[in-house]
Amino acid sequence: MNTSATVISISEPVPENVLQALESVCDPEIPVLTIRDLGILRGVRMKNGEVVVTITPTYSGCPAMVDIRDSIETALEDAGVEQFSIETSLSPAWTTDWMSEEGRKKLNEYGIAPPSQNNQVACPQCGSDDTRLISEFASTACKSLHQCNSCKEPFDYFKCH
């Protein structure tokens, strides 16, 4: 699995300050993750001197997309980037496979169980595999609600998608 799904163009190098600025953009719902950790940031390239940022929505109705666009604009403007555009790409459809290893670790430390291919959901508090599903949906579309049978803590699980 690729640990970073973001394609950064090398043919026409992207300035370091642009990359650093984008690296600072976090998801509004899960502020410990950057949009790059989440695989929402799909690419950065230069086109005739302009920075072109490509992002993809997690879920079709994800309300965070508007915030994410705004945050990218602010981050680039703060970094002194004047010419840029933000494109949204739908295909290929976003998948949790694009979440970086680093992102998975941070998610777990934050108290949200990271997506698991075999659907073995481990409790982010005590690490036990003995957990149960409470609801298919939780506070956002990308999560479901679980409870640990060992330490009894309820917790969110970032669904495999």
């Binding site: 079709s60 109705g61 994800c62 290929p92 459809a93 949906f137 579309a141």
Partner: protein
């Protein structure tokens, strides 16, 4: 191969957008009214998926039309007869059983439909379908569980979910019918042959209903008209609710 008429493709994208918009609006009526908190969140999240889908289809329909209409213009400034959603999507939410019976029947249909539409020769439609499909699969997981639980639950839940299926059945057939423009798009590989999905749908739904100790309704009565803009009496009320703010304060933004 004949060339695809742009207007046909516009109508096609618009109809798929209307289906999703109206369903999202209906489901959002459950916000803060769900039977319990977790289910309230689930209904709302599913509503959000539909609204997201409608935004993608309506935006694309607006681009194809090329008259400068965006998703909001299409959602808020068209009248009843201009909406071409299928009738099943506009039916009132009823009780939780009515809502879940509709959801389940639609989920079974949509998983198969969007699976096929992923192969559309139109790249944008195929991309929206691929995004939608992942969400529909998840919706089906939940709605199917509810049908089993309600059907094979108490006497009360069994009787009410059976009544819900009986009531909705005349509206099901329309999912498998195509207007002329859609048949035209079929030849170009843009659309999907809806009728061809019926045998598998019948089998899947039959299995679930049997497992839930429910009967597959036997009525042959069909109510149709959505794609022609001929709606049930419920549609005007839905639009009044959905469009009021934009009609009263045109261009209003959050």
């Amino acid at each position: 191969m004949k060339t695809v008429k742009n207007t046909d493709k516009t109508r096609f994208a618009l109809a798929l957008g209307d289906d999703a918009l109206v369903m999202g609006q209906r489901l959002s009526e459950w916000v803060s009214n769900g039977p319990f908190l977790e289910e309230d969140l689930a209904l709302t999240n599913v509503a959000l998926d539909y609204i997201g889908r409608s935004r993608m289809f309506l935006t694309y329909a607006g681009e194809l039309e090329g008259e400068g209409r965006g998703e909001d213009d299409l959602a808020f400034y068209r009248d009843c007869r201009e909406f071409t959603n299928l009738l099943i999507f506009e039916l009132p939410i009823g009780d939780f059983g009515n809502t879940m019976a509709r959801q389940y029947l639609i989920d079974e249909f949509e998983v198969a439909y969007f699976e096929a539409l992923c192969k559309s020769s139109d790249e944008t439609i195929a991309a929206i379908a691929a995004k939608t499909l992942k969400e529909c699969r998840y919706h089906l997981r939940r709605s199917r569980e509810w049908i089993l639980r309600l059907g094979d639950g108490t006497e009360e839940s069994h009787q009410r979910i059976q009544a819900a299926f009986d009531e909705i059945w005349p509206y099901v057939q329309e999912l498998f019918e195509m207007p002329e423009y859609e048949t035209g798009l079929l030849e170009d590989g843009v659309a999907v042959d809806r009728a061809s999905l019926k045998p598998d749908w019948d089998a899947e739904v039959g299995n679930t209903l049997r497992e839930a100790t429910l009967n597959v309704p036997e009525t042959t009565h069909v109510i149709r008209g959505g794609r022609d803009g001929v709606h049930t009496e419920h549609m005007g009320f839905l639009l009044a609710d959905m469009q009021f703010m934009q009609r009263a304060y045109p261009g209003l933004e959050w």
